[in-house]
Symmetry: C2
Subunit: 365 residues, 2 copies
């Protein structure tokens, strides 16, 4: 087991106000990185503004984060933060703003860095310290060293680096109350994807499996209720949020498997929300990891306290009809991206590019 996760995590009602004093050691000038709508609507931005004002931390807001944020926007925000002499960066939102904030911290410290230098980690200066405030129960980005961004060629790539860990992360599940039902479901199945892919990663160890199995145990009930169209109460919101954090902790060690990477294709080309895109391929992964090692899969179901049918049934209940149709030519043209791909090889099964062709054909042709 190799384990390293230095972020100080606080969750629960009012956690920002309660622990804002912790941030003073990071500096007294901060740039918040967020999207135009959710940070305000959820109440998170208000809480940050109020707490920072009381703590004497000056705050500028850069609210230009879009879904699947491009590296170029992060570079722009980084220059903005550098001009404002920000001493730390505070990301507020779901996966997109949090992942963007990590990159902004890199660019703020290295304003002349280009996209290639960013991905090569040729960062001359350490990123600014990072603070993250989560507003969705899905990404787990609050506690990961991962940032998934879209490059100039409109392709999603993940970058993993210890320097991208937040110094402090806050999770107040009240912020997730304003999520629409599709957002709750898409983020919720992303939790299942993180945890399941982590368990069936070749890098899984006993710490990551502890996180992964508990994430699934916690996510299943509230997610089933959301899939039935029920409004989630405070307890269910909090439970689903805790599950998302555990999912993030799990993938720190393991990374993800082929469902995430094949999911990127659906997001890039069909605009499918990230969680739905990844979860679409989870049942197929569960199928092939069982064929590969039945005993390992049996341990998984015993540890999550549910059988394969229950888990795939829940995933199916959460997924909308994507309404996607592909041609065999299109699939053939996409296949090279999965040749030798790390997430595909990370899957605890034998998954060939041909298997991915068959999978896409069976689902979309």
């Amino acid at each position: 087991m190799d384990y390293f996760m230095p972020t100080r995590l606080y969750t629960g009602e009012g956690c920002i106000a309660k622990h804002v004093a912790d941030l003073r050691v990071l500096g007294d000038r901060c740039v918040a990185v967020t999207s135009r709508h959710a940070a305000k609507a959820s109440g998170a931005l208000d809480d940050v503004e109020r707490a920072f004002a009381e703590a004497g931390i000056a705050l500028d807001v850069w609210d230009g984060v879009t879904e699947n944020p491009p590296v170029s926007a992060c570079a722009e925000a980084g220059r903005f933060a550098a001009e404002r002499n920000a001493q730390f960066i505070c990301g507020i939102g779901g996966g997109s703003p949090l992942d963007a904030a990590k990159a902004v911290a890199v660019f703020a410290a290295n304003p002349t860095l280009d996209e290639e230098g960013f991905y090569d980690k040729a960062w001359e200066c350490e990123p600014l310290p990072i603070v993250l405030v989560g507003t969705t129960a899905g990404t787990g980005s609050e506690v990961t060293k991962v940032s998934v961004l879209t490059d100039a060629a409109a392709r999603k790539h993940s970058i993993h680096d210890d320097r991208l860990f937040a110094a402090v992360a806050f999770g107040d599940s009240r912020y997730t109350h304003t999520c629409s039902r599709p957002v709750t479901l898409s983020c919720g199945v992303d939790v299942l994807a993180h945890a399941t892919e982590s368990y069936f990663s070749r890098k899984a160890d006993e710490i990551s499996r502890a996180f992964a199995t508990r994430a699934i145990r916690l996510a299943m009930d509230p997610l089933a209720a959301a899939a039935e169209g029920k409004e989630l109460d405070d307890g269910q919101r909090s439970q689903l949020y805790d599950a998302s954090i555990l999912g993030g902790l799990a993938i720190n060690t393991t990374g993800t498997c082929f469902p995430h990477n094949v999911g990127y294709y659906l997001t890039e080309n069909y605009g499918v929300a990230h969680g739905f895109a990844c979860a679409t391929f989870l049942p197929a992964m569960l199928d092939c990891v069982r064929d590969y090692d039945a005993a390992y899969a049996a341990a998984f179901y015993s540890e999550i306290g549910a059988d394969e049918g229950t888990l795939t049934g829940l995933i199916g209940a959460c997924l909308p009809d994507l309404g996607i149709r592909m041609t065999t030519d299109e699939i053939e043209a996409a296949l090279p991206r999965w040749e030798g791909n790390g997430s595909v090889k990370n899957t605890r099964a034998d998954v060939s590019t041909g298997d991915i062709r068959e999978l896409l054909e069976s689902l979309f042709v």
Copy 2:
């Protein structure tokens, strides 16, 4: 959930040699803190000496740690380290040397500190950086901010502080092969005690429960084999060691409950090994937490995949006959130590001092 555990953990065969370069940032002069025998016999000290020599780190060894180490010995070792201008401290061994090393790091940076100042955390200077190398599967001290030491009045006290986290911890379960069967069993039931007490702590949260339940799942099989007198193979040793790390991670958040604190009494007054002393009171705790909240207890057994009888049966199989007899007067005289005690109040049940009297009488009178 509040979570903070900044230690970089490496486990597995040869992990020290593989990652010794990580230690160079801590300095090039180190004092190892260990006991006279185990660090050598286990092979851990040899591995440290070899790896440090290759990395150019000068090493002095202070091997005066005894079981239930007194604060005074740690102060002495701290002065030794200060005289040698050590830049960091490397604890090697089971719970006693690792807990001692944390205190030595405090005293090395504050050589004039007295026992009271140590417990009051009136530490003018930050402790030296700490590196820990575990040689038993029990304490989990490698990944905790806890140090349990014996004071001048021969009483055991635990001290918790974020500054006591190791910078780097190594766990190579091959070192546990030289543990005698009683040591394996006493350390092994300490894992069960950490994890079970953590789950039934009032401070338990979803992260600590993830650690605790997996620790128990992993510990049960190898421990049952050891209790039957079988030699453990590499896989079982490694599994039990991973369990001990998970147990440590669990108690970081929660602390322990009354079995640990009542166990200290057996250790101080009857010389009972720490793990056996604590585990003696686990079945009684399982009894009262079930009475207090049957649903919570049921969730615990479902999550560890075993019932109460199986768990208490395993504990019973591991425990030797302690051969202790107490008088009611003696018990009466001891009771004040549990009035308002933190570990007693931390137990998710109503536990009065009268309950502890009854428990001690039922076991030892």
